[in-house]
Subunit: 343 residues, 2 copies
């Protein structure tokens, strides 16, 4: 946990979530552990008493996110890429559990870099699985995405909705990774927990619409460009709620493959979010819409996941979408360096 | 079409199937065009008047399958690998349409070669798509598989069945390829026809259960080892029926992505097939079952696809499963070189 007064997480885990396996100290590898979600997970795992190895190439991760973690004797950082299979296989030895969060996480720019999602998401996942197989590491938790539903026909969308058609290279790379993980689970006896996230918000958030809107409004509070028509309906989940859910699911894993949607029981429009952000900032910009139902190619105009499966384990989020957005905004306002670094 | 008396295809296309675009000669690239299905497709495309380029590394394809095709002035063979992007991009220029059939097509041995399906199916498909994008080739037909349904919960299984979980590396690599194709279609304006095949039978068939059983019974007609318990329920489609369906679908393509199951409206058990094969061969072996519901890891104990979507275009198969199996058997009995070559 962080010292009070910092802009870092001050979330205290509640007693319904005991973590990975609170009875035993485990050796946990977190790929992408210097990233937004990863570093929050690392802090939590350390607080629960585990040994944590972060594997991150720091391409988008921030060393600063690991400042607290790095003070723990149970923490180590390996700065390396998942495409470096030699390094990965060396690190994999002696691990009990892998949280595979490393990814190219930006769905928007897929078509500008058509090979990036394939390499960093699909092939990287294959490398993680091969390293696990060779080192006899049997448990994996994976951060997939609601984007694998493409443009769903059922809302809220359950995990077993009609077989979707992919609309983004990001979603394609993640469903490919899910498929590889499932095939390894069946072929080699791994146990996998796969999480299909909505967009995650909270401390250390460093890309997405709150980030973009704050940066734009900081530059010019009189106008705001909004991608699409503002009517896109989106879901968000607060990062600590997300971590609660992942730890709970992993500690309850029984089947070879368990797949969980992670989100709240609500959605908002982009316009709702703009309203909350502007109100909190005390600005009233002219809203300029780029138009169309989608903010970009592969953008899904409606994301709303049925999360009854994870709720059946006893989980529920404690932050509403609005609370999550406002908490993220406060964090970013205190983290000007981040806003600059990613500008 | 083949000369009469040969063991090569003697199938005459009927008038309900006019082919890719019978009004115009098109330049068609067939990856895997020296393979079982590919070479049959090539013969048909040439008969319809198209210009055909086969791109094949001849790893499992057979030059002999292209003997008739190679006599056409509208045919050329490029012996190269899809991982050779330079060669692929050169060949892609000036094509109108791609039939992407090249693949590691053997679902059984995935776990012995964990990277093979990823490389030859997923990455190779990405390379095809990138080459198409760079050369502004906009139409692709892709041979996917009913294996992407894993172990379905609905029979017959429609294209929009509940979102499946992959059970084989082969299925995983094919769903990854489907996803890439769909994402490219949405992101770059390609038009894609994706076919989820049951097992295909017929002339030039060179792996699968009819092949295995014939080889085993040729070696020893008194006993037959059968993988699994023999009760696995499987579907098969005759290769010329499969080609009819693909050409019909491609000529009717309107959406960015069209997905079709291809199979017959029936299934049989492995034991049924053993009975037909033994009767045709006049043998009565002791049946020795390896046991279990599945023949191998990732084998699906029941494959039966709902093909009403392709039937709605006016297609129907002309060969029953039994006819397809017996026709394949006759072909293989006349192609001892093939049985030897793949032993």
């Amino acid at each position: 946990m962080q010292p009070s007064g910092s802009s870092e997480p001050q979330f205290v885990s509640n007693d319904t979530v005991e973590g990975v396996n609170s009875a035993a100290r485990e050796r946990v590898l977190v790929t992408g552990g210097a990233g937004f979600i990863g570093s929050n997970l690392v802090d939590r795992l350390l607080a629960l008493g585990h040994e944590v190895t972060v594997y991150d190439n720091l391409s988008t991760g921030q060393f600063g996110f690991l400042e607290t973690a790095s003070q723990s004797p149970r923490f180590q950082l390996v700065q390396s890429d998942l495409l470096d299979t030699h390094s990965l296989r060396r690190v994999m030895r002696e691990q009990d559990l892998v949280f595979h969060l490393a990814a190219n996480a930006d769905v928007r720019f897929g078509i500008d870099h058509p090979a990036r999602d394939l390499e960093q998401n699909t092939i990287a996942t294959h490398n993680v699985l091969e390293a696990m197989r060779l080192a006899s590491v049997q448990r994996i938790a994976f951060s997939s995405t609601g984007s694998v539903y493409g443009e769903p026909s059922v809302f809220p969308t359950p995990e077993g909705c009609p077989f979707p058609i992919q609309t983004s290279l990001y979603g394609a790379s993640k469903i490919a990774a899910e498929a590889l993980i499932s095939a390894y689970a069946h072929g080699f006896g791994l146990q996998a927990s796969i999480f299909r996230f909505v967009s995650i918000l909270g401390e250390r958030y460093s890309h997405g619409h709150v980030f973009d809107f704050l940066r734009k409004l900081t530059n010019d509070p009189t106008r705001l460009e909004i991608l699409g028509n503002g009517k896109q309906r989106k879901s968000y989940l607060y990062v600590q709620d997300c971590i609660d859910a992942m730890l709970l699911a992993v500690s309850n894993a029984q089947d070879a493959v368990s797949i969980y949607n992670l989100g709240t029981n609500e959605y908002c429009t982009v316009n709702d979010s703009v309203g909350w952000i502007c109100e909190a900032l005390g600005v009233n910009p002219e809203r300029e819409y780029t138009g169309g139902e989608r903010g970009w190619i592969g953008d899904s105009p409606f994301i709303f996941l049925d999360c009854s499966r994870i709720r059946a384990l006893g989980w529920q989020p404690r932050f509403s979408i609005r609370d999550g957005i406002l908490s993220t905004l406060r964090y970013l306002q205190g983290a000007g360096w981040l806003l600059q670094a990613r500008a």
